[in-house]
């Protein structure tokens, strides 16, 4: 039952959203049916909870964390559920007539039902986390409802504000609830409710309290979070009627009451809740007087009434709690009816401005009567339900609960606020229904359709009946609710209309009379005054909120974002290097790292000389890189050579070979790119260089760079002079030949022991080649580098000037002799490639080195003959080579699957060939072949893609010229 009850609205919501947008009536009936079903279900459950019983339904969700779907209904929940469903039903009926036919109503009803479901979820939650879930769901759905007319800026702002505030509160509450669960050791509501003392005495109590109250108070629009509520009035009236009378704002109250047995009764509770409640009560009432918008008036009155309930709850006495529960119900009835009445007025006259409205009684007497009764209930006129709960409130207010100033002023504030309530109620009635007939109304008012009025009639009847014979109507329900909240401490209370002449009655009378007098005094002022109360008009909650939000989320955030980050590369690099430096040295410094003593242990003078050269190259490259790019590249080559010789010196011939080959290719590559970079000429008088901050910056960079250098030096020196640890490499040295079948251990590691690394590495190369290729297909050189280089222009001009020369003769001549040699080198390098490839497994070399060497052979031909020349002669399909290479390498690895071994298990055996003898056949060779093919393809692809730009550039130049021509006219 409970499950159906909580799911039905959501299911209905889902169904409604799929209705076509012009099927408004159907949607209304459908959601009415859903609401009715829920109402009936709730009603049907009454017998089970009437006698203090609790219904539970459990469903596992996140059992490890104590979060389960627990539906739990007791008397109090029942009361709320019935309010929600009943008023929901009435509002649906009302909305059916209120909403215009052109509105896409199914969406409205869908959200409406979803909201109803969320609200039911809150009241039925038996798990506090689940409660938080539904709590936020109400925030979200109410956001959508308030923003329903989103073409209207006010609706958007109102919705946003409501969501921001209630959502924030909800998140705080969520934390509070988790903390509460932490204290209790369970999120189950029953467990929480039964451990009030534990919670109140826990050191975290105050934190929990504040967090939960933040949630409750924001939701209930308590001061200082009240301001969202009036702006939520931009919603369609049925929404206001539902949200602000019976449901959304009551969620906060619901939570306060629900947790009342657990949290209430301490000083902190009293002060926080009391202050908020009293201020809200008074301010709300005061503001309400000065509203010109009908719904605005009602909104502030809602705030005020919520304040009243809050004050009651703050007092901490059981009787006050009873009063609070009672007033909650009463307020729901009369406020819903008033909202609907206001909606009718708005609907029928086209305005809600009380300055324009007057004398409507003669146009819509029924509505007027209903509204009058309802507002009398709001004002607390005897024989109506509002009076009863107000009397209880007064009675509690004069009781002394705690000896402090707050408690002392409560009765006075209560009376004053009550007086204001009378004033605004009177004003509502008087200015709308009495007085001269209205002028300039957008529409001619008349009575609404009967069914639109019916919900009001029902509610007003309820007000009356409850007001006259409370004990027989509302009594049992109230009792069930109260008992489920207060349990054993349920006080004795009486729901009689007449308690005799006593102080509360006197206070009521004072309030009534004072209110009337006040109204009479202010009548003329109010009839013309502008919106908002005097003194506080400038203190508009919304404006403050907007400003704070803008400042916070926009100005400050952007300022912070800008300050705390940078979109420039250099600072990022500095930070990265700095942090890396700190991170690298910190563990060493903290643990007292001592670098090994510097000793000129067996320094070879030749080696030292070599590195002096290397160091000069490195520093020179760093120094020249800005203005003398070519020089920097040359020096970089020098540093590379020194590195390479070092590798040889220190027993790494493989590395030396590879480094050399890569070095060559890299140089050619960068040279290929150099053509597209802008000229940069050193200007010794550049003011930037003289600039002090610039110098300072450079000094800082230099210091950081030096620090890194020194750090690397110390660490590497220390490491190199330490004894080698027990490494895994002895395994490789022992087995490279016996199990890997090669004498070159490095190569065996690469193609066998750690062949997977190599596979990944060639894949990287493949990726980069593809990236370069595809990026260069879209390459557009800068306009000034589009033209041919200066040298070529001059040479071509020279050729053109001399009639006996053809264009391009200069280059042909230039390359005449060199190209002959370069061409003959092609097969030679090919042989070298084969050599490197075949011996790789046993001696330095291997597929990678071979691939690069072969690509150098190709590039040499390109340099000798030019792109067209080569491509006319050689079939170059680097993409295909790459693909084949990768596939071959993988297929080799996969081959071992056939024999039941894991990927890349290599196999080696000696084949006996006639004439030749035994030759080793290792699958690793095949793998290396894949590597070779891929490396060749990738390197050639990268180089050629770059080289092709020179061919493409003239085309691009033509295109650019065309574009420029198009732009100018």
């Amino acid at each position: 039952m409970l499950l159906i009850l909580s799911l039905a609205p959501f299911a209905g919501s889902l169904a409604a959203i799929f209705l076509p947008s012009d099927k408004g009536t159907a949607a209304a009936w459908f959601s009415g049916a859903v609401a009715l079903l829920c109402q009936l279900l709730v009603a049907g459950l009454y017998p089970l909870v009437a006698s203090g019983g609790v219904l539970r339904y459990d469903l596992q969700w996140l059992p490890e964390l104590g979060l389960n779907i627990t539906l739990r209904m007791d008397g109090f929940a029942w009361m709320f559920a019935s309010i929600i469903t009943a008023i929901g039903l009435l509002v649906v009926v009302y909305a059916r007539y209120y909403m215009s036919a052109s509105d896409p109503v199914p969406r409205f009803f869908s959200m409406f039902l979803a909201f109803m479901g969320a609200m039911l979820g809150i009241v039925l939650s038996g798990n506090i986390i689940q409660l938080a879930v539904f709590w936020e769901l109400t925030s979200i759905t109410s956001f959508l409802l308030i923003g329903y007319w989103h073409h209207n800026a006010q609706a958007r702002d109102g919705a946003r504000m409501a969501l921001t505030i209630t959502g924030t509160g909800g998140l705080c509450m969520f934390v509070g609830l988790i903390l509460m669960g932490h204290i209790v050791g369970s999120y189950d509501l029953d467990a929480v409710l039964s451990s009030g003392n534990v919670i109140r005495e826990h050191p975290l109590y105050t934190t929990v309290l504040i967090l939960i109250l933040l949630g409750a108070l924001t939701k209930s629009a308590q001061f200082p979070f009240h301001f969202w509520l009036p702006h939520a009035m931009a919603a369609p009236t049925p929404v206001s009627a539902y949200l602000h009378s019976a449901t959304l704002v009551k969620a906060g109250v619901f939570l306060l009451i629900r947790l009342w047995p657990v949290l209430a009764g301490t000083d902190a509770w009293f002060w926080i809740v009391g202050c908020a409640g009293l201020t809200t009560l008074l301010l709300g009432a005061y503001f309400a007087i000065f509203q010109q918008d009908l719904k605005g008036l009602l909104a502030y009155s809602t705030i005020s009434h919520l304040g009243l309930i809050t004050v009651l709850l703050s007092l901490g006495s059981p009787l006050a709690a009873v009063a609070a529960i009672f007033h909650t119900m009463n307020h729901a009835t009369f406020k819903a009816s008033l909202f609907m009445a206001a909606g009718i007025i708005d609907h029928e006259t086209g305005t809600r401005d009380m300055r324009k409205l007057s004398g409507l009684f003669r146009y819509m007497p029924f509505t007027a009567t209903l509204a009058m009764v309802a507002s009398a209930a709001m004002a607390g006129v005897p024989l109506l339900n509002g009076f009863l709960s107000k009397e209880m409130f007064f009675a509690e207010a004069i009781e002394t609960h705690r000896y402090n100033i707050l408690d002392t002023i409560t009765p006075y504030v209560a009376t004053l606020a009550s007086m204001f309530a009378v004033t605004y109620s009177l004003r509502f009635i008087y200015s709308v229904f009495f007085g001269p007939p209205p002028k300039d109304l957008p529409k001619i008012p008349h009575e609404p359709p009967h069914w639109m009025r019916a919900p009001i009639e029902f509610l007003v009847l309820a007000c009356l009946v409850v007001g006259v014979i409370p004990a027989f109507t509302i009594g049992p329900f109230l009792h069930a609710a109260v008992q489920s909240v207060l349990g054993d401490s349920t006080p004795v209370y009486s729901l009689a209309v007449w308690h005799g002449w006593n102080l509360p009655l006197a206070m009521s009378l004072v309030a009534l009379i004072g209110g009337v007098v006040l109204f009479l005094l202010m009548k003329s002022y109010l009839a013309t005054s502008i919106e908002g109360p005097p003194f506080f008009r400038r203190l508009e909650g919304q404006r403050i909120f907007e400003r704070v939000l803008v400042t916070l989320s926009w100005k400050w955030a952007r300022w912070l974002e800008r300050t705390a980050s940078s979109r420039r590369l250099q600072p990022q690099m500095r930070i990265l290097v700095f942090i890396a430096f700190v991170a690298g040295t910190l563990p060493l410094l903290l643990q007292g790292f001592k670098p090994s003593a510097m000793a000129l242990r067996s320094v070879d003078p030749a080696f030292a000389l070599l590195w002096i050269i290397g160091i000069i190259c490195a520093v020179g490259a760093a120094y020249q890189a800005k203005f003398h790019r070519l020089a920097a590249l040359v020096l970089l080559g020098g540093a590379g050579l020194v590195t390479c010789i070092t590798f040889v010196w220190l027993s790494a011939p493989d590395l030396a070979v590879t480094q050399l080959l890569v070095e060559i290719v890299t140089t050619v590559l960068i040279l290929l790119g150099l053509r597209w970079l802008p000229k940069r000429i050193e200007d010794p008088n550049d003011p930037e260089l003289m600039n002090f901050p610039v110098r300072l910056r450079r000094l800082r960079d230099l210091a950081l760079a030096l620090a890194c250098g020194v750090g690397m030096m110390l660490v590497s020196y220390t490491m190199m002079t330490r004894n080698i640890p027990d490494t895994i490499s002895s395994y490789f040295l022992e087995r490279a030949y016996s199990e890997g079948g090669g004498t070159n251990v490095v190569n065996v590691i690469l193609v066998d022991f750690r062949g997977f690394d190599t596979l990944g590495e060639i894949a990287v190369l493949c990726i980069v080649a593809l990236t370069v290729f595809s990026l260069l297909r879209r390459f557009r050189p800068a306009t000034e580098s589009l033209e041919k280089p200066e040298q070529q222009k001059i040479q071509n001009a020279f050729d053109d000037d001399h009639p006996d020369r053809k264009k391009g003769d200069s280059i042909a001549e230039y390359l005449l002799i060199p190209s002959v040699i370069m061409r003959w080198m092609f097969p030679v390098i090919g042989m070298l490639t084969a050599f490197l490839f075949f011996r790789g497994h046993d001696l330095p070399g291997g597929g990678f080195a071979a691939g690069i060497a072969m690509s150098i052979a190709f590039i040499l031909q390109y340099m000798a003959g030019g792109t067209r020349w080569v491509e006319e002669r050689l079939r170059i399909h680097p993409l295909r080579w790459m693909s084949i290479g990768l596939l071959v390498a993988m297929a080799t690895g996969l081959g071992s699957w056939l024999f039941g071994y894991p990927f890349l298990t290599s196999h080696m055996q000696y084949a006996n060939l006639p004439l030749i003898g035994k030759i080793p056949l290792a699958t690793a060779i095949l793998f290396d072949l894949g590597v070779f093919s891929l490396v060749l393809g990738a390197t050639v692809l990268i180089l050629i893609a770059l080289a092709h730009q020179s061919v493409r550039a003239p085309r691009a130049q033509v295109k650019a010229a065309r574009m420029a021509g198009k732009e100018t006219p």
């Binding site: 242990r601 290397g614 540093a639 790119g673 597209w676 760079a705 030096m713 020196y717 190199m720 490789f732």
Partner: protein, 111 residues
């Protein structure tokens, strides 16, 4: 030996890092190259320095760390060289593209 090489590594690192902080793309690419030399040598140094003990076995024989240098750092450096080469070329092309699109060789695409 160790001292010389570690000073060399230090200088290469310092020059590379210094160039990384510079505003021109070309400086950055040279810096990355220098840095990659330094890093390669550093990795290599982690296997300790040995003269004339290449990890190449006699056919049919086995080896050990007494007679041969540590082959693993060498294998790692080889992989690192390849990847470094790939990345250098990629970066080069990207900086060319950036230069093409923005018209400047500043790393941020504007002066």
């Amino acid at each position: 030996m160790e001292l010389v090489l570690s000073i060399g590594i230090g200088v290469l690192t310092a020059s590379g890092v210094w160039l990384l902080f510079r505003p021109r793309t070309y400086q950055v690419i040279i810096g990355l190259s220098l840095l990659s030399y330094a890093v390669n040598l550093f990795i290599f140094g982690m296997g300790r320095l040995r003269v004339n003990a290449p990890p190449v076995l006699e056919p049919g024989g086995t080896g050990g760390l007494l007679t041969h240098t540590d082959p693993i750092p060498q294998a790692l450096v080889l992989t690192a060289i390849v990847i470094g080469f790939a990345m250098t070329s990629l970066f080069l092309v990207v900086l060319l593209a950036s230069r093409g699109f923005t018209g400047t060789d500043h790393v941020d695409g504007r002066e």
